[in-house]
Symmetry: C2
């Protein structure tokens, strides 16, 4: 069984590679819910929806998020009626939020909702949130503390970042079954996601980091930083804010003490020695996932790197 710690777009694409090289039923994605928020009274789970809809082949691939061919009739009326308009929600997309909100209000858990959605949309990969408890990621900025999506979408990542808070993480419990999955996984992959606001929240859930360290499974990541810049999203300012250099070396250091291997891009090959000095094995390949072939190759390289390490004693 392969466990993938996942953020949004990068993780979804990485898992699209994995399903080409191993049976999808053997993969479980544990997805960040730090970006989750409530808007228009609806529970929004951006990363869960991106992963689910990408694997269902329903994603708007140009954006990386949202549903292909979606329209914005409802959104434009929500704004007309005085609702907030800074976070776009397509008409089809809204169905996910409406249904999730209804199910949660009926007493179902976010794990149950996530599983119900991926089944309804025909996704064979198991998808679970990191926790059924809300752990919103807040960004501390020069303009005050704000939810990650407010920082990222509403203010277009223009504020200076001073720190990051996973609000309420101390009391959050791992999603049901997550610790057992970690303990019994054959491989644990950390997707090429933002280490601070995508993977960071997952690892901050009490018990998760410890379970990964205790697991015999090799832990391998793919650097989301290529040539000193993030492939997508605001990794650079966020990594800097928590004292990580914006490089493949920084990506490896983000998982210090956890990592057995990291896949880095060819343009970063010169950093391999520096990373290996941290006790982390390195594989070098093309990590930009342009299409199915690149995705499958990246998955293959990551799995090979994992298998190169015999299970820990």
């Amino acid at each position: 069984m392969i466990l993938v710690l996942a953020g949004g777009v990068g993780a979804a694409r990485f898992i699209e590679g994995l399903v080409q090289v191993v049976p999808p039923e053997t993969i479980t994605a544990v997805v960040n819910t730090g970006d989750d928020m409530e808007l228009h009274g609806l529970k929004i789970s951006p990363d869960l929806d991106i992963v689910t809809c990408t694997l269902a082949d329903l994603i708007d691939r140009e954006q990386g998020w949202g549903i292909i061919g979606d329209t914005d009739e409802c959104m434009s009326w929500l704004v007309k009626l005085g609702g907030p308009g800074w976070f776009k929600l397509g008409d089809r997309d809204l169905a996910l939020h409406i249904r999730r909100t209804a199910m949660l209000r009926e007493g179902r858990t976010l794990s149950e909702v996530a599983d119900s959605f991926r089944q309804a949309l025909g996704v064979a990969v198991r998808i679970m949130p990191m926790s059924d408890d809300p752990v919103p990621t807040h960004i501390l900025t020069d303009a005050g503390e704000m939810h990650f999506e407010e920082y990222f979408v509403r203010h277009r990542a223009q504020n200076e970042v001073r720190g990051v808070r996973y609000v309420g993480v101390g009391k959050a419990r791992p999603a049901p079954g997550l610790l057992e999955l970690i303990a019994t996984a054959e491989v644990i992959l950390i997707a090429p996601s933002n280490p601070v606001v995508s993977v960071g929240p997952i690892l901050a859930i009490p018990g998760v980091r410890e379970a990964i360290m205790a697991s015999p499974a090799p832990v391998v990541t793919v650097s989301p930083i290529v040539g000193g810049a993030a492939i997508k999203g605001p990794a650079a300012p966020l990594m800097r804010a928590v004292g990580l250099e914006v490089s493949a070396v920084g990506a490896a250091k983000a998982y210090a003490g956890l990592l057995d291997g990291i896949v880095i891009d060819q343009v970063d090959a010169h950093l391999a020695q520096q990373i290996e000095a941290l006790g982390v094995r390195v594989a070098v390949t093309d990590t930009i996932m342009r299409g199915p072939a690149e995705k499958a190759n990246l998955a293959r390289v990551a799995l090979q790197l994992a298998e190169a390490r015999p299970a820990a004693v």
Copy 2:
């Protein structure tokens, strides 16, 4: 000031006539909320939305409900995700339900929501719910007790009707300001709406019937029954179930003790004498509201009938 007790489609069309003959700012519509329900976790107020969107000239006139040009992307996905599909909600339409639900959850009242919506959509007529408290109308049928919309939409009014319940009406309070509006109204019009499930719930709110009886304003209705059949909707079986004959006479009797006058259709002219014997004045005209001219005429006739009665002592 003109107060209109209103259901959905028929009432909305009637008020469209009124605004042609008196300034819209002088009209207040008190709208039935007995059809209100929660679906997909969203608060649906069918009659409030029909009245508001009709007066905003945004209604789908062929259906009488729903928003013109609306699409059903969200609905089809809600069903795909396992949500109930028997009550169609368009994408634009959903914005009303989402925003209403969010505002109610934030602590706003339904009256505030209704006023906010009509202002946002540019409606000059004041629109208020009969109550801020939920009073769902249940239909007692041969297949058990069910919400009115389940009876009407889900089961297409096919069940035998045995009775009607306004659930929780005993504890419902009139919407803020409603009793004062009744007391100070110059005319009270009862729209050509279903007397049992549209106007009945309004009159059943404690204090409303008493206030109307105490008000010096003349009370005039338009018969929703023409030639022994309802113009629209399930008035016939519901009137029969509560012991009213399905005729203009039955429509007058539905408001026994309240009514000063009733406008009936030309095809029912032969019933005038029978109605006048109940102590109710009658005006006869074409009551089918095919277009703006018929609507304006009907409003004019109703107002003339009201004015023919000097304010009560």
